[in-house]
């Protein structure tokens, strides 16, 4: 099943995918563009991976100070950065390099403490798509990547759907693709993850108890390019979802 959270008709609803778009829990069937999409869950802890695809590591080689055999590069984000499908993300006027990151997001389904990798997938509730923007102009060499780069309002897009784990046959065989204004700029496959989902759950749950609703953003493959105001950025993962986002400038926020 594919589930969503949307705003429609003055209320927030749970919805499921339907041939013509989506169906609210009260029975109403609506087109995709008739609703406001929210992130498909209200997450707890949001854990993100840096440099978890070999090709992306190569792409950012000058910044990498660790080898592939070191522990996963993990950082945290807060729920305030999230927006849903078809939302708008702000590109500040002074930014010169702002890029998307298409990532498979893993949603934890139950409390996980010191879980072994062989059992780890049993703790996954489902999957969704994340587009985790970064603005590299603001990168500083303290607690990388610092929150001003990676945890800005509107800069983490999540959705459209939370797809039940049972409906994803192999989360390590999924094609990821990003297109900007219809042109494909990033392609990859989750089979190339350096630390796969069971590795990550085993690693994290060894020192921090994961809880239902925690989300792991598993990292992005190579092909990150700058995006500009007006661009439509579509991050898509086969069988999981197609997440649409538009870049806007400072004006709608009264900052111009």
């Amino acid at each position: 099943m594919k589930r969503a959270r949307v705003a429609y008709g003055g209320a927030i609803h749970d919805a499921v995918e339907q041939a013509r778009g989506l169906q609210l829990e009260d029975g109403r069937v609506l087109a995709e563009d008739a609703v406001v999409w929210l992130p498909p869950l209200e997450p707890g802890t949001i854990i993100a991976l840096g440099l978890n695809y070999a090709d992306h590591r190569k792409e950012l080689a000058q910044e990498v100070t660790v080898g592939a055999k070191d522990e996963p590069l993990v950082f945290l984000k807060s729920p305030g950065a999230l927006i849903g499908h078809r939302g708008q993300t702000r590109r500040p006027a002074d930014a010169t390099f702002m890029h998307y990151e298409c990532e498979l997001a893993v949603v934890i389904g139950r409390s996980a403490k010191k879980v072994r990798r062989a059992q780890a997938l049993q703790y996954v509730a489902g999957y969704t798509v994340a587009n985790d923007y970064a603005i590299r102009d603001y990168l500083e060499n303290y607690y990388r990547p610092n929150l001003r780069v990676k945890n800005r309002d509107t800069c983490t897009v999540l959705g459209p759907w939370l797809v039940d784990a049972a409906d994803v046959a192999d989360p390590h065989q999924l094609v990821l693709r990003t297109s900007v204004n219809g042109k494909v700029t990033q392609q990859g496959n989750t089979r190339d993850l350096i630390s796969g989902i069971p590795d990550l759950i085993e690693y994290l749950s060894d020192f921090m108890t994961l809880a239902a609703g925690d989300v792991i953003l598993t990292g992005t493959p190579e092909g990150v390019v700058n995006v500009n105001v007006g661009d439509e950025v579509v991050t898509e993962i086969e069988g999981v979802g197609r997440l649409v986002n538009t870049i806007v400038g400072d004006e709608p926020f009264g900052r111009a």
Binding site: G44, T45, I47, T65, E71, L73, V74, F75, L76, K77, S78, P79, G80, A81, K113, Y138, E140, N141, Y142, Y143, R144, N146, L147, R148, N151, R152, D153, L204, F207, M208, T209, L210, A211
Partner: protein, 250 residues
Amino acid sequence: MLTVYQALAQPHGWPVAVDAPAAFWAALAADRAGPRFLPPTRGTVYGTLLNHADALAAIGDQVNAAPYKAPPRAPVLYIKPRNTLAGHREPVVVPEGVAEVEIGATLGVVIGTTACRVAEAEALSFVAGYTVVNDISVPHASYYRPSLRFKCRDGFCPIGPAVVARKMVSDPISLTVAVDGKTVHRSRIDRLVRPVAQLLADVTEFMTLRPGDVLMVGVAAGAPRARAGQRVTITINGVGVLETPLVAEA
């Protein structure tokens, strides 16, 4: 605001007066037969790196060397996730193989009203109150990209005992850490690179803070260490006394 105070300042199952003075909390928290204290918020808890003048002075010229290459420009923040939050007197496990943990004692500023792009002059009006935070770490040398293993272990962020309403607190200034009753660290909270109002202005420029979120103002230099079997007590005058027993991994 009333709702926020009540939600934030309520120990488990114990309805309390709104806007109680710190002395009220102190009496309650000191009463061993009193209520169990849960972490007084469910918001996101943020730490601020190198915002204490003494901490910045202690790192000195290293900020210009690799891997940092420059002093911090904007506030550098980190997150203590929900698994780390622990209430007053809740035991915290020191992991096996770790001799001592570092006690990052600091003031927590608790947000009361959604704060986005707040002006420095107005910033304090977005603050619900203050609390005491113990930002525990496994000691590590580098600020470059510390592993979550060092800072995000279960229980590594004791907080409380309560949120004392802002209007009940005069400027909190002095902080002490005691281990087994003996004072091992003193610092001043008013020696910040960015004082609270400026910090809120600079952080909310890029990141909205919501009611219940906590912003730690920054740990001073010379953070003390403690080991399993010891009892850590952090005192911020007018805000609270936060006690944390450290225990060995079972």
